[in-house]
Subunit: 206 residues, 2 copies
DNA sequence: TTGAGTCAGTTGACATCGTCATCTGAAAGC
DNA sequence: GCTTTCAGATGACGATGTCAACTGACTCAA
């Protein structure tokens, strides 16, 4: 019925899912190898048959999240119903939404482990390359690298500030992550809007 | 010579310094209450006479860093030799430099503890309020809140990406944190520069 | 079919960590 | 001078990451 390899793969998947769920619900402190094992139906030592380290398990969770975002970016880029600016905005919002709804996972995605500083950066490759192509469609190849780097940096910063609750401070006048993203996209797209942003979305998705 | 209160205050300071040094050199994992105590010349239980919690000690370290940055922002704002745009740029670079040279401290400054989500946000107040005033000098009161929030978000994102090593990826064409900051400042200041950024700093500090 | 080999999973053990209860001794106040 | 206060030391406990040894079921060649 189930071969040994299949069973092992299923356990590995269960461990990843368990770790992701624990991270979502209880934060990084809740991700204990014992808890992960229990939720996956195995004991504390079992994860060491699939990951050399607790850190490696967490990196795998972060990599999974980057891959999922990469798929979304790819689909977004291929969507014929969206303008380049809309693709750009939606891509940034997709990243910000992770920070909004899965703050612990988001933090993990941007935390470089001391072991392999490039592990998560490699996982982020596809997402960022897809986004780079979207930006190039809007501002041209020449400036795409610089603007894409700026946009991703800014979006991750917006998500970070919102995740830490600092965006809710009244001194910012109740500005939302979407407001900031729109301001940013407008600036890059060349149509600076000095008027207060009361409009949320340019018409395009009725 | 040294009263009991003075001695206690000195110990508290020593604990904070020890925690900050350990954080800088070895990351968050190196900040152990035992190690902090040892470096401060006391034993593992002593920190509990000054901080209710290890988390509280870390929050105090982060608060100290925010206060220092706040002083810098204040001095920057009062500097008569700098244009508003230069003040803005220097303020952002000051934040980015923390991420560059003290990445662990930087991460701590933006990590909201589960205990009191507003503790670090309160500490960040002054820095951000000073910066808000600088931005208002450049773009007016009307848009200052939105642009200041965007600039701080972006700068923290730039610092975060650089701290995680992702900015060094060749797909960004070797863009630096300063390049991105300049691009951002130029966009907000209204003079969009579609040309590649080969100039680093506008003349002003001979 | 059978036997050895592989390997996912279990279990026991250890060092380290945060934290608490208790103890000690010196400074502070009457 | 006596009592109080409190910074610091110490012992202990539970939880955690990790390793070594063990177990047992699956795999595969002969």
């Amino acid at each position: 019925m189930t071969s040994r390899a299949e069973s092992a793969a299923a356990t590995r998947r269960a461990l990843l899912d368990a770790a992701a769920e624990l991270l979502d619900s209880g934060g990084l402190d809740a991700v204990t190898l014992r808890a992960v094992g229990a939720r996956a139906g195995v004991t504390r030592g079992a994860p060491y048959r699939h990951f050399p380290d607790k850190e490696s398990l967490l990196i795998a969770v972060g990599t999974q999240a980057w891959d999922t975002l990469g798929d979304r970016m790819h689909a977004l880029r291929a969507d014929p119903g969206l303008s380049p600016a809309e693709k750009m905005r939606n891509g940034l919002i997709a990243l910000i939404d992770i920070g909004r709804f899965q703050p612990h996972l988001y933090k993990l995605m941007f935390s470089n482990p001391p072991g392999d500083p490039t592990a998560l950066a490699r996982a982020a490759q596809r997402s960022q390359t897809e986004f780079l192509a979207v930006v190039a469609d809007l501002v041209g190849e020449q400036d795409a690298r610089r603007y894409a780097a700026l946009l991703i940096s800014s979006a991750s910063g917006i998500a970070g500030l919102e995740a830490s609750g600092q965006l809710a401070d009244p001194k910012w006048g109740g500005v939302s992550a979407e407001d900031l993203t729109d301001t940013l996209v407008d600036m890059v797209a060349g149509k600076r809007s000095p008027a207060p942003a009361t409009d949320d979305l340019p018409p395009g998705t009725p």
